[in-house]
Every structure is written in C-alpha cells, then in structure tokens.
Symmetry: C2
Subunit: 329 residues, 2 copies
C-alpha cells in the first residue's frame, strides 16, 4: 500500500511555512520561505509551490504524492476558495485555492489563519472535547476563531469570528482596521506599540526596549518582549500587563455572550510569555464576566501547537473537508 502524505501551509505577511505529515499526523518534513508579498499574489503562490516542493524533496516525494493540502492565510476565505481581503498581503479577492490546487496538483482547502489555528487546537490541542471553543491569537494583531460542535463557524458570509475587532473602548484608540476602540488596538503588539511610544517617547521613561528594539516600537518581536519582561523592565511589564488585561476583558465579554466551554489563547506573545500573562487574563476575564453567568464553566488555557498552529490546523480542516467530499486517502 502506498504511504499517504499531507501538507499544511501557513501563509503570512512575512513568511511561508510548510509542514508535511504522514498518515499518523506526525510532521516528517518542514520548510520556510519569505513571502515577498510586495511582489504580488502570483509570486507568493509560486513561492508557496517551491516551499512545498522543498519540503517534499527532503523526504523524496513529489508534490503530486500529497493526498490533500490545507492552507491558512490572513484573510476571510469564501467557500469557493477566494481570499477576500488581506491587507498585509495586498490581496483583494484572489483565487487562493484555485491557483494553489493547479500549482500543486492535489486537492487544496483554505481557511482564515486564526480560524485554522483554532480548529487545530480543537483537533489536536486542549480543545478536543469542547462543544464550543473560542481561540484567540495575539501577535501583530489579535485574531480569533470559533468552533461549534466540531465545526468552524464564521457566520452567514464566512467573515465573522473577527474577535479582535469587537469594540472594547467606544471612541478609543484608532485600530489598524480604521475603526475606533477595537480590542486589537490594545491587546496586540500593534496596541503595545502605542503604549511603548507614549511611555518612552512622550513620557521619557527609561526602558531597555530602547536598546533592544533600536527605537522601533510598532511590532516588537515576542522574543524581545520576553527578554525585557524577564529583566523586569517596568515599561514592558506595564504594557504587557495592560494588553493582557484588555484581552481578559474581551474574554469576559465572549464568556458573557457565548459561554464557551473553553477559550484557548495563543499567538507569538503567548508562546513567549503565556505562563506569565495567563493569570492576568483569567483575573480580568472573571471581573468582566456577567456575574450571574458562571465564569468557572469556561476553561481558559494556553494553545498547544505553537508555530505549527496555522499549518496543522489548516491541514486538519482540509482533511475534514476532503473526507466530507469523498474518501480520504
């Protein structure tokens, strides 16, 4: 019997990341490439193709040997495989699935990256038994996903679950999306950038971030945030604490509205500092949950798939779609 291979593909504004798994789900190869998104959609697609080829080469197979591929990308994805809009990729209505399936020569399914990440935590992470699972991923932005009874849910137009863009502070900070007071404008590295600039540039406070970041505070690497936190840098601790408190307030709203079994929190910031920040999120979420509702019925825990979340989640999603459409290889 021929062995089966699967590809999980994570397309981001900066990099493409591919994993190849065997029929047991173990990662047997992976590859990475810069996205070069500024060169346009066609270039990114070619780079995804060559990234998958590279990973296949490592284990001596061809892309045509892949049973099914799953793609996560920073855009709402329609059921026809069109990526609606990805600001950091410069995409507007691009035929993501159509293009990739013809390049790779295998069935391809795609999902929004944070939806994929949430689905991955449902299938492979702590969310396994959750009837209603919410995922939140804090990095440059704040993304979310909702899994109900084992299915990703993103509303009537497949564009919902944008949990980072709920209003948390009406009339507050301008968010990258153009709205005011979005949760993401506070609970993300972009949101932290505002506060770093306020404290360091306006209030002239000392911080080791000046040296560690070279003075660029907009999207500080999670590894640098961790270093500064562990060094007890006051500005960093205050800023991360505030971001975690805002996130907790958002989690409290989500519990009040949806009463999920579980909220899984991941993304670069929580991969670096999850153990430190999770208690802050829990405390604030408890304060922000409608008191009559039972806060303790919702588990709040850290995501488990780390860097592989989007690639593996997208692949699990693709497998489920592929199985629903016919026999899985």
């Amino acid at each position: 019997m021929a062995r089966s291979y699967y590809a999980g593909i994570d397309i981001g504004g900066t990099k493409i990341y591919v994993v190849i798994t065997d029929s047991k789900g173990a990662i047997i190869a992976s590859a990475r490439k810069k996205s070069k998104a500024e060169r346009g959609f066609a270039t990114v697609m070619e780079r995804v193709h060559s990234c998958v080829s590279e990973a296949c080469d490592m284990i001596g197979i061809a892309t045509a040997d892949i049973t099914v591929a799953g793609v996560g990308a920073p855009s709402p994805i329609l059921p026809n495989g069109v990526a609606v809009s990805a600001a950091n990729m410069g995409w507007r209505k691009v035929p993501l699935v159509g293009k990739l399936s013809s390049l790779l020569g295998c069935p391809v399914y795609a999902e929004n990256d944070c939806n994929a990440g949430t689905y991955g935590e449902y299938c492979l992470g702590p969310g396994k038994d959750a009837k209603l699972l919410v995922g939140l991923f804090m990095g440059t932005g704040l993304g979310g996903g909702i899994v109900v009874d084992g299915k990703l849910t993103s509303g009537v137009n497949f564009m919902g679950a944008e949990l980072g863009h709920m209003t948390i502070s009406r009339g507050g900070r301008i968010c990258g999306c153009g709205k005011k007071g979005c949760l993401e404008a506070y609970a993300s590295k972009t949101g932290m950038g505002y506060k770093f600039k306020e404290e360091i540039l306006c209030n002239k406070r000392e911080s080791i971030l000046v040296e560690l970041t070279g003075g660029v505070y907009d999207n500080v690497k999670s590894s640098i945030l961790k270093k500064a936190w562990l060094a007890k840098d006051e500005v960093t601790v205050e800023t991360l604490t505030e971001a975690a408190e805002y996130l907790g307030d958002g989690v409290g709203s989500i519990i009040t509205m949806l009463a999920p079994d579980m909220v899984v929190i991941g993304g670069g910031v929580f991969e670096a500092l999850g153990r430190q920040l999770l208690p802050i999120v829990r405390r604030t979420a408890k304060e922000a949950t409608y008191p009559v509702a039972s806060f303790r019925d919702t588990k709040i825990c850290l995501a488990s798939l780390g860097d592989n979340a989007v690639a593996l989640g997208a692949l699990e999603y693709a497998k489920s779609r592929f199985a629903a459409n016919g026999a899985v290889g």
Copy 2:
C-alpha cells in the same frame, strides 16, 4: 376531536402577562396581573396560576385543558427548569418549571425572557429564515438572545447570550450587574437615567421630562420617552440618540464576531420609537463593523411581536420542546 389550547406566560418584575392560543396560534384570550415579586417566589407562582385561570375562564376552559405552557422569566433557566438568578424578582435557584407544572397540571417549559423573545421573532416574526438570528431588547435593561439553525443557543451552562453585558467601554459606567462599561449601562432606560440626571440635575438643562416624569429619571416609561421625543425635547433626543448609538456599536461588534443573517431589535423603547431609532442604530453599527467583513449581509430590523414577544416566544419554545419529547396535541 377536542380542541387544543396553549398558554404563553411572561413573568416580569412588575407584571405577569398570559396569552391563550388556539391550535392555529391565534391569541384567543389574555390576562394581566401585578407580579408582587416582593412577596416572594411562592406568591408569584400563585399569581401566575390565577392569571392563567382568569384567561382560561374567559373562553370557558380549565387550566387542565392546556396542552402545554411556555414561560419566559428574567433569569437564566437551566434545562431542569430551575431559574438561576433574577435580581428584580429576588429569585435565587427557584424551581420555576416544577412549581408551575404542578400548579397548572400541564407540561411547562421555561426560557429566559429575552431568549424567548428572540425565539418568537424566529418562529413568528421577521427572523423566520435566518440561519443565525440575534435578538436585542431594550427596556429597563438590555437583553439578548441567539438562535442558530432554529435552536436557542446559550452556551455550555445555558447562561450565555447576555449580550447587554458585553464590555463596550472598558472602565466606564458602573452597570446594575456590578461590572463596569457594559453595553446595558448605556443602551437601556437605566443607562438613559444616568444621562438624564447628568443633563437635567447637574447641567441644569431644561427638559419637559421634569414635568412628565415628576423628577424620577431612572426608568422612564417608553410612552413618556416617545412623547418627549416627538415634542423635540433636546435632552430626550440627545439621550435616546446616544443610547441608540451605543446599541449600534454593540450591533457592529456582534456582526464582527458572529456575522448573523439578521439582528432583530425590540423591547419597550423600540416599540415606542423604533422607526426613529433604527436608522441611528444602523448607521452606528455600520461604522462599528470590521470593515473587511460585509456589513450588508446582516439585516437589522425591528421586532414584530411587541408586548406579546416573550409570551408567544416562550410558548413556541415550549411547543418545540414538547414536540421533541413526544407527540404534540
């Protein structure tokens, strides 16, 4: 063949309202009574019983002739029929369904009042074809309900869908629930009370509300709000506009998070001034929806059942539960 009768019961902090319907769903009798909630749970239950009896008397039937009764009450209701907590009734874990089914001698099912109201709009109102329907009801407070694929959804512990208690203004006004910055603290008659007092008592602004309310601004009757709005009373117009804008911001967050097909807005304030306030809600909701998401895919419309919403919605819910449990009469 014997005719079939059904009872819908709306239990509120001030009044009990009962409708009797025939097998076609037409209301053939109704009755009203004060709740006298301050006398305790047992008294309220007896008053519900006598209110149902009165309505039955009007058409010459006995309560035992009722096939099934549905109850809406201002509390989360567990599947076992226990009402968890109703602040304005003084209830903590009372056996609502157990008590009423023994008093009435017929099967009884109960739901949270705003869940019931939303379900009523799904079954009998504009929400008929919605796959994902959200209901919002603005009165003394701001209640909500969520119907997914024809089923009320209130999370793992049946306590979710408390949409009025999502945070809309972190660190803002204290809400009646004890939290800060809840949507209800702005988008409800209680929220309007804050602003009326600020404008009339603190800022010494003139308003016909002084006369119309006798100086009590906490929970102004919707009919008085309507009178003052139509008289173009500045303080009233500003205050209602602000409440509608906050509600619109909440609706925008709900669309961003859940992308429902439809949001139905009702409750006393919108029964009185829905035509005037709905355009404000729509405009603000559009501004508050994540721009990439497609705002136009969600219809925002007025509820249609008016005063009967909770009683009829609870009854539809009871019928569906009764049908699922066995043959419906």
